[in-house]
């Protein structure tokens, strides 16, 4: 918090505190009633988990990205193609098969995130987008790079984009992202 001249006016608020070994308490039994007016005790309880997460039947899709390929799931019966993998078709329930999707596509919609979840705060502002592939029934959630996040425009919708792949795979869906064609 700074005043108009940019001089800090407050000490920063942090989630650290001094350890407390004793709390004030009224004299008993005469002040028992005063306990009803006591302010709540608020403490910090850390909580950390490492999950062992499996991509299961969708694993080839992740492996595809780390090898420069976007896979899709295709239903032979309905001819539906899904760029976010599904082991079974949403319409008929048949098992899908893998197909290779093109590296060129279009922006279906987008947003610029100026805030977000704790994990992604350091990346703000970043551009989230949904990508449409020709002949696909559904979309792909991804990141759009190569545009100025401070100058968003509805003109970005419909823009031709091409896939870029991370050289060092993180085995995450962000191993692929999109940039305007020719950039």
């Amino acid at each position: 918090m700074a005043d108009k001249k940019g001089i800090p006016m407050r000490l920063p608020e942090t989630e650290t505190a001094t350890e407390v070994y004793s709390l004030p308490f009224p004299e008993l039994p005469k002040d028992l009633g005063a306990l009803k007016g006591m302010k709540p005790i608020v403490v910090k309880q850390p909580y950390h988990i490492d999950y062992i997460h499996s991509y299961g039947q969708d694993s080839p899709w992740i492996a595809g990205l780390s090898n420069g390929t976007i896979l899709g799931s295709r239903c032979k019966r309905c001819r539906n193609t899904y760029p976010q993998p599904r082991g079974h078709c949403m319409d008929c329930g048949d098992e899908t098969e893998w197909v290779v999707l093109p590296n060129k596509a279009k922006v279906h919609t987008f947003t610029v995130c100026h805030f977000g979840s704790q994990e992604f705060l350091p990346e703000c502002p970043f551009v989230l987008c949904l990508i449409e592939f020709k002949g696909c029934e559904t979309l792909l959630l991804s990141r759009l790079m190569g545009v100025d996040p401070l100058k968003p425009s509805l003109k970005w919708v419909g823009m031709e984009v091409e896939a870029k792949f991370r050289r060092l795979s993180k085995t995450k869906p962000t191993d692929v992202y999109f940039v305007p064609v020719g950039s």
């Binding site: 709540p40 919609t109 995130c113 805030f115 979840s117 992604f120 959630l141 962000t174």
Partner: protein, 450 residues
């Protein structure tokens, strides 16, 4: 199925943080209010109740599994039947409908529905992360999981399809904050202008901080009863109950992954024809539905609830709506899903007088002068944007406000009469989960009907 009545309700104070009480005591705050309103003590009412349904959304926020039974125990309802209900943002709406089922089926005569959420136990950024875990953790969350971002992408597409503007969205924010100005239960009571909404800090383009609801701590309770249950309550209290009948129940669903929403035919509401969606305005001459600009689940829930309640022209036959405005944009999308206007016309509807309260001045000339102002007030309470959104309580909060509207007791409970919808006979409540995955619509009617 038997007739089901909502007989009373209670809401705790919603606030950014309620460290003064545990979640159990927050539930008791709402529950005891509802019971005292019937003229009974909690102990006496608990003898009459046949069980209960408890709702909360997030085990992450609660950092407590089985919090439902802990609330039931604290309310004094053990060892009677009970269960916990969860369905994202629609948790409260689902809870109400589960209690309705218990009574409609003949399984219970009296069943309270109680919901809560305590979201202040983590900072806002961690809270955003918890909420974003209600998107696919393999394919959505790791890309930059952020709910405001998801809804922003939906409305960007709505803007492209229909020409909806950020200023039209801002009208929703002005309306709901102004309505809340007259509602002491609300967390944010502000008189705003469209300019102030647009100039607030950008969160996810084009949504600013004033287009988005906030996280809250709070609880709400709704008491449901059969004809027989109402008689038992009246016998115990010696007072007549102002019954509100639940005349329609609807529920719809959609894929968790927003990218997985296909374009299909529009399920038509009773006031629509297929021809309404043919013409130059629509992609390739026909509306491609729902894609990501509309909520298939909201449409499905509305179709079902209207059919059950016998509603054929929602705008003319519903006196007010409390709907899930987690975002100003989703209120606009929901106008269309609920048939208050046609697809594509939600933006215009938002900036017209129709969803505003007729007796309040909003400082919006086109709205305040509109002869159709107040046709069907939407979120007279202030909605989620201004009241707050303690997820598991939210859908029940809507039920309580709707119940008070239909009992004509707004003045009694709010100590202010301004948001009372005059001659309110039929209200709709709408509860909505993550990007439109679960949506409930319930229709409530005053004694005597329309």
């Amino acid at each position: 199925m038997r007739p089901v009545y909502m007989v009373s309700g209670g809401i705790s104070k919603f606030a950014k943080a309620r460290p003064d009480k545990t979640f159990q005591a927050l539930c008791m705050e709402a529950y005891s209010y509802a019971i005292h309103d019937l003229g009974l003590e909690v102990g006496k009412f608990n003898e009459l109740a046949d069980g209960c349904v408890i709702s909360y959304f997030s085990d992450h926020f609660a950092r407590q599994l089985m919090a439902g039974i802990m609330a039931q125990d604290y309310l004094g309802l053990c060892p009677k039947p009970g269960h916990r209900v969860e369905g994202g943002g629609a948790t409260g709406g689902l809870c109400l409908q589960e209690a309705w089922k218990s009574i409609a089926s003949g399984h219970m005569e009296i069943c309270p529905a109680v919901g809560f959420e305590t979201m202040s136990h983590v900072n806002t950024w961690k809270g955003n992360e918890f909420i974003a875990h209600a998107s696919d953790v393999s394919f959505d969350y790791p890309v930059g999981g952020f709910y405001s971002g998801y809804y922003a992408m939906m409305v960007v597409r709505h803007m492209m399809e229909y020409g909806t503007t950020a200023e039209q969205m801002a009208h929703v924010s002005v309306k709901n904050h102004m309505n809340a100005f007259y509602n002491p239960y609300a967390q944010k009571r502000q008189k705003l202008t469209v300019k102030e909404v647009r100039e607030a800090p950008m969160v996810a383009w084009p949504l600013t901080r004033l287009d988005i609801c906030v996280m809250s701590d709070g609880a709400a309770a709704a008491i449901l009863a059969s004809e027989e249950g109402v008689k038992e309550i009246e016998k115990a209290s010696g007072k007549r109950v102002k019954k509100v009948k639940v005349t329609g129940i609807g529920r719809g669903t959609d894929a968790m992954r927003m990218a997985d929403r296909p374009h299909r035919k529009v399920p038509l509401l009773p006031n629509e024809k297929a021809g309404d969606y043919v013409g130059k305005k629509w992609h390739g001459g026909r509306l491609e539905y729902p894609g990501i600009h509309s909520f298939r689940a909201g449409r499905m829930a509305s179709v079902q609830a209207y059919e059950m309640a016998g509603i054929t022209d929602p705008l003319a036959e519903i006196d007010f709506v409390e709907l899930h405005d987690a975002y100003t944009s989703s209120e606009i999308q929901t106008y269309e899903d609920m048939g208050l206007c046609r697809y594509g016309e939600g933006g215009k509807f938002a900036a017209s007088g129709k969803p505003f309260l007729p007796n309040i001045t909003y400082g919006l000339p086109a709205v305040d002068k509109d002869p159709q102002k107040g046709t069907c007030p939407v979120n007279p309470s202030g909605g989620l944007i201004a009241c707050g959104h303690p997820v598991g309580a939210t859908g029940l909060m809507q039920a309580v406000f709707a119940c008070w509207q239909l009992q004509k007791t707004i003045r009694k409970h709010l100590k202010k009469p301004d948001i009372q919808v005059k001659d309110a006979k039929r209200g709709a409540i709408h509860s909505h989960a993550g990007t439109g995955t679960y949506v409930t619509v319930s229709i409530l009617e005053a004694e005597g009907g329309r």
